[in-house]
């Protein structure tokens, strides 16, 4: 009857005689092998006394665990040592997670299409639409040739449409197809214009008059009394493609960074991949930075693609001096949009709602931030609104260094604004973040 509580070290190997016992519920004649530990706090018949039930179990492990923990410590280093950040392991996890995500991304053909080719379509469509800068230039009919026509052509301010005869050219003016017709016959230069198109006619008159004066002056051989040096402030070739490229690239980068972070978080939560990571000894930072690295990689490939396509002769992009400064700009921009993605991914429940929300945000920002048109041409209120949106700063930064020929100084404001934005949004996201749905 004496309790066979055993200390095996002392008693040697146990010799248990096993007698099958009937299934008993809270039997009072329980066998006497019964350890007590503070956590159990039960009396010998298995009934917990009322007074004890409400007591919190002690924080310290129960006795059987104490023996165990000494065993554990024989096998593994003490926990304190293990909690030390292990840089080698961190790098290892980071590297393999990044590789896993990159492979998963590259093998998703639809995803790759929407990340790279779909935004490129914006570039191609807008690039082709605005390819003819003549949309903003006046077009005049020209008959004949001579130094005046050659000078006009060099000036490039008007587009010239060659015509066969003066009658034909004048008829064109009368129909309102062109504001003016220039008929050159030896030294006689005739300009016929339609007064109905006052503005353009005045421009053409001034322009042709100036060219004729210049030709006259040149033929007289005397040096000009007043010398005019007029130049455009932008790169001399600021055609539409010059602002469409940084604009649509910004849109592409923001879209893929936001969607990448959002969909990863939401689908990983739904599929319990987040739970797998939570159950592994990796930090949240490792997981997020490895996904961020993929997003930055994607942004760089997008930039290369956009620049490559826009530089094709059809579009004729010309990069300015320090265009490589676009790289830090892309990294900071990705960081800001990735944090927005984390925010959406923190509360969205399904991939569908997350994707819809992300797209809505990207397109709204796209229209309000001057990705399709120079923001300087937008109304005052829109320019003000755009200053509240992170996309505006990415567009500004990229425009500055890629086509406006600006240097590091052009990056200061965009980089600071985007970094601040990223920090604030990431902090909010980390507060809202949950590992599991339930």
């Amino acid at each position: 009857m004496s309790a066979p509580r055993r200390d095996r070290r002392r008693d040697g190997p146990p010799e248990y005689v096993w007698v099958p016992s009937p299934l008993v519920h809270a039997a009072s004649d329980q066998p006497t092998v019964r350890m007590r530990h503070p956590a159990a706090s039960s009396t010998s018949n298995g009934v917990v006394p009322d007074g004890v039930r409400s007591l919190e179990p002690p924080e310290a492990p129960p006795p059987s665990t104490t023996d165990l923990s000494s065993r554990i410590q024989q096998r593994t280093p003490p926990p304190e040592a293990e909690e030390q950040p292990d840089n080698g392991a961190w790098i290892n996890s980071f590297r393999s997670l990044s590789a896993a995500m990159a492979k998963g991304f590259a093998r998703d053909k639809v995803g790759v299409f929407f990340t790279f080719l779909f935004p490129l379509m914006f570039l191609v469509v807008f690039g082709l639409l605005f390819r003819d800068d003549s949309a903003t230039k006046t077009r005049i009919a020209v008959v004949g040739d001579g130094p005046v026509v050659a000078a006009l052509q060099r000036a490039g301010a008007v587009d010239l449409e060659r015509m066969g005869s003066a009658t034909e050219a004048v008829a064109k003016v009368q129909r309102g197809d062109v504001p003016a017709a220039l008929v050159v016959n030896g030294n006689a230069v005739q300009l016929r214009f339609a007064a109905s198109n006052q503005t353009e006619a005045t421009t053409v008159q001034g322009l042709v008059g100036g060219v004729v004066d210049k030709v006259n002056l040149a033929s007289s051989g005397r040096p000009p009394a007043v010398k005019l040096d007029s130049r455009q402030v932008e790169d001399s070739s600021l055609k539409a493609i010059q602002f469409i490229t940084p604009g649509t690239l910004s849109l592409a980068v923001s879209s893929s960074a936001i969607l990448g972070a959002t969909l990863t978080l939401v689908s990983w939560r739904r599929k319990q991949v987040l739970r797998r990571l939570r159950l592994a000894p990796v930090s949240v930072a490792t997981v997020l930075t490895s996904r961020l690295l993929l997003s930055i990689g994607i942004a760089v490939v997008q930039a290369a693609l956009f620049i490559g396509v826009a530089s094709a002769p059809v579009f004729g992009l010309r990069l300015s001096g320090q265009w490589y400064l676009a790289l830090p700009m892309l990294v900071v921009g990705t960081l800001a949009f990735f944090s927005i993605g984390m925010l959406i991914g923190s509360f969205a429940k399904t991939e569908e709602s997350a994707g819809a929300l992300a797209n809505l945000l990207v397109l709204t920002m796209g229209f309000l931030s001057g990705t399709f048109f120079p923001i300087e041409k937008a109304p005052e209120w829109l320019q003000t609104v755009s200053k509240l949106l992170p996309l505006r700063y990415l567009v500004d930064g990229l425009l500055g260094v890629m086509v406006r020929g600006q240097g590091v100084e052009a990056l200061t404001v965009p980089v600071v604004a985007l970094l601040l934005f990223a920090i604030v949004v990431a902090l909010i996201a980390s507060q809202l973040f949950v590992w599991d749905d339930a």
Partner: protein, 348 residues
Amino acid sequence: MEQFAESRYVRPGGPNEQGRGRSVSLPANICPTDGAMGYRAHMSRLGDAGTAIIVHELRKRYGNHQAVDGVSFTVAEGEFFGILGPNGAGKTTTLEIIEGLREPDSGSVWLLGHRPWPRKKHLLRRIGVQLQASSFFERLTVKEQLETVASLYGVGRGTAADMLELVGLTEKADTRENKLSGGQRQRLSIACALAHDPDIVFLDEPTAALDPQARRNLWDVLRAIRERGKTIVYTTHHLDEAEELCDRVAIMDHGQILAMAPPADLVRGLAAPTRVLVPAGAVPLERVRSVPGVDEVAEEAGTLTVSTRTPAPVLATLAQQGALDGLQVRSATLEDVFLHLTGRRYRA
């Protein structure tokens, strides 16, 4: 305090600690229905084993639903412990609290001598949790999946290959996760749980939604894991399976443990009659009814069912009558135990 008098709890680092390095105490017999004799027998089979898990008076409530309502048990190192019950019994919540994924409202858990909540990285290295068969990294092959998971724990590639072999997926190593069958996905998710060679393995309904063939294949995997000396805690709603695999089971319903013992003990403890089934008409009803020890005879759907606690005389009589063709003998199962405990049929 009196009841703690024999407690051998010693503060870590205390004077007695070194001397107790190898001493092992039997886990406390917390649950009133835990058949202690069965447990001892079980322990003796396992030999010198420590306690892997201690769960004490766990409670967790979601809104109005008391998911876990005072659950206590211990699991020895190397034990295959099953938690069974119908859907919604609180099995998964209990498991998630032990794994450190949820914080209990009250009660406590010790996992290898540590509290799993809040998250402790050193403890995570020692437990392996099987997750949903969907919790894989997108579009990676079986091998890449396992290697990625292993690298999260700083484990080399060798273990991954080893685990692939254990779960029988070596041939599928280069197949993408989304091309696997249901059973293969389950096995991969188990392999992922084992990738870092943990001491305790948690499996939540590993055989759910599998066809019978795949289920039996998985049983072999589970047995193989157990042979490697892992402690296994596993939930299922297949009672037959638990009977087949577990050293000890806890039957749960409505957030509480109704009974806990080795499956054979539970069944035996029920002292339920053995049922002998013969085709109707093979033997006269009255003849059987007169055999001593027969509790009940019923004829239904062409089958004569004889319930008895002493099957020997019944079988002898049937043999005499030459009525052994098509004979079946059914003893009680865990399903009968469940019926007995809850007063209702088991709904899987």
